[in-house]
Amino acid sequence: MDKGYKKGTITSNIEIASNIYELKVASSFNSPFYGEAGQFYMLRAWNGLDPFLARPLSISNIMDGEITFLYQLRGRGTERISKLKSGDSLELMGPLGSSFNTNLRGNVALISGGIGIAPLVFLAKSLKANIDFYCGFKDEVYYIDKIRKYSRAVYISTESGSVGYRGLITEIFNPALYDIAFSCGPVGMMKRIVKMCKGKIPVYISMENRMACGIGACLGCSIKTSKGMKRVCKEGAVFLGEEVFYCD
């Protein structure tokens, strides 16, 4: 029952920046959490059927069977999750989806926008290459300390200019310096990066879509790619950027 339902117990759930939470969940019994960078879990953190569907969150870390999620409060589901206290239990299904290839060397750029940092922290930890981490935020920055641990250099931008470069992260990222790039963030940002890297270096991105089953059965999360219809929850969430943004 690999992708079966697991019960987990919250060990901590802390607001680390406004509307940004770090959630740690211990597995119960002898079924430790596992998974690779880019993979995700579906979380049900409420009794009953309101909300109806589970919510996907990327793995931000796994250590000693304990899993860490980093999430942004967006709507009803994440609000519910944000109310959980340590000791509370929840249900999880995973790990799901494809993962980033971590078996590579050379100069690697990780580019995150906002909460897109969540899967990339785990990727940074998993990579054994030279990592330059570019993280863009609106105003408040978070998780920078964790990132520094795994990165050669960290570049920060904020739209407000409160920290680092004032502007968009895409304005300070230069593909020419790298062998490969990984990105997660708003679609607009990822599109821009894929365009910048086109013909130069490969970019892998982590996509989002509304999900029902999370395991590839309902086709609710299918997107059109240059290689045909692909399920974000199964063939993704990690895709080669140019396969997803293949028009213009």
Binding site: F52, L53, M93, R210, A212, I215, A217
Partner: protein
Amino acid sequence: MIDMRVNLCGIEFKNPVIAASGSFGFGREYSEIFSLSKLGGISTKGLTLEKREGNKGIRIYETTGGILNSIGLENPGIDYFISEELPFMIKQNTVIIANVGGNTVEDYVKAVNKLNETKIDMIELNISCPNVKEGGMAFGIKSKTSYRVVSEVRRACKKPLIVKLSPNAENIVQLAESCVKAGADGLSLVNTFSGMAVDIKNRKAVFDNIIAGLSGPCIKPIALRMVYEVSKAVDVPIMGIGGIMNYKDAIEFIMAGAWTVQVGSANFIKPTITLDIIDGIKNFMAEEGIKSLEEIRGVI
């Protein structure tokens, strides 16, 4: 001894719980989680003659107690299904039902002709998908049109033929009667209800197609009522569908007249929920001293 078997149109189901079309793909993903041989049966994702990419835009939208979906019959086409998916399914030791969609009567007939030559157990004719613009749904609204489609398919079909009814039908009982008259061996109901949602920030419909299909426990009371009414009106076996989340819901449908049940959206809540339902039915039968499902079928 508790006997959960159901013989429906000459096909034996080991228990009355079938995974509903569109919620279970071709079973592959769930087979990684549990043994499909435990299921009564599986209805495949809706198949069309030609491969389809499905709808653009948002495809899934949560509502209170359910979901709106606008998948738009994304599927690899009948030929691919027969060569690449069916061999796997056949091996799972459960009843395999091919759910067939289409835009024209000719498409339905061609698809059925291809399936006739396979080991598929039954055919479930979807004359009611609300998510395909060109047609499909149109067949399932008026009794007259349905009669025509079903009779044509009946003529071609060499397998037991289940017709899947739309709750959007003008008159579900008349629709059921005309499908039976046209030769349906059994009926399954209901498919999704036509519904919609509005994105108030952007002042537009959530779905590109505007209308999408509603499923889940929110529809259960209505679906149950339709199964009840139809089961009183026709003599063919009925598969009850609509918001079944647990064994109690399943028993309700059976007591309202269903022979088997199909479980759709509930699979998204917990991938092994069908197994919970099967166990629950079994326990209920044991506790209540029910030896076979016939005893309680249609007692209402």
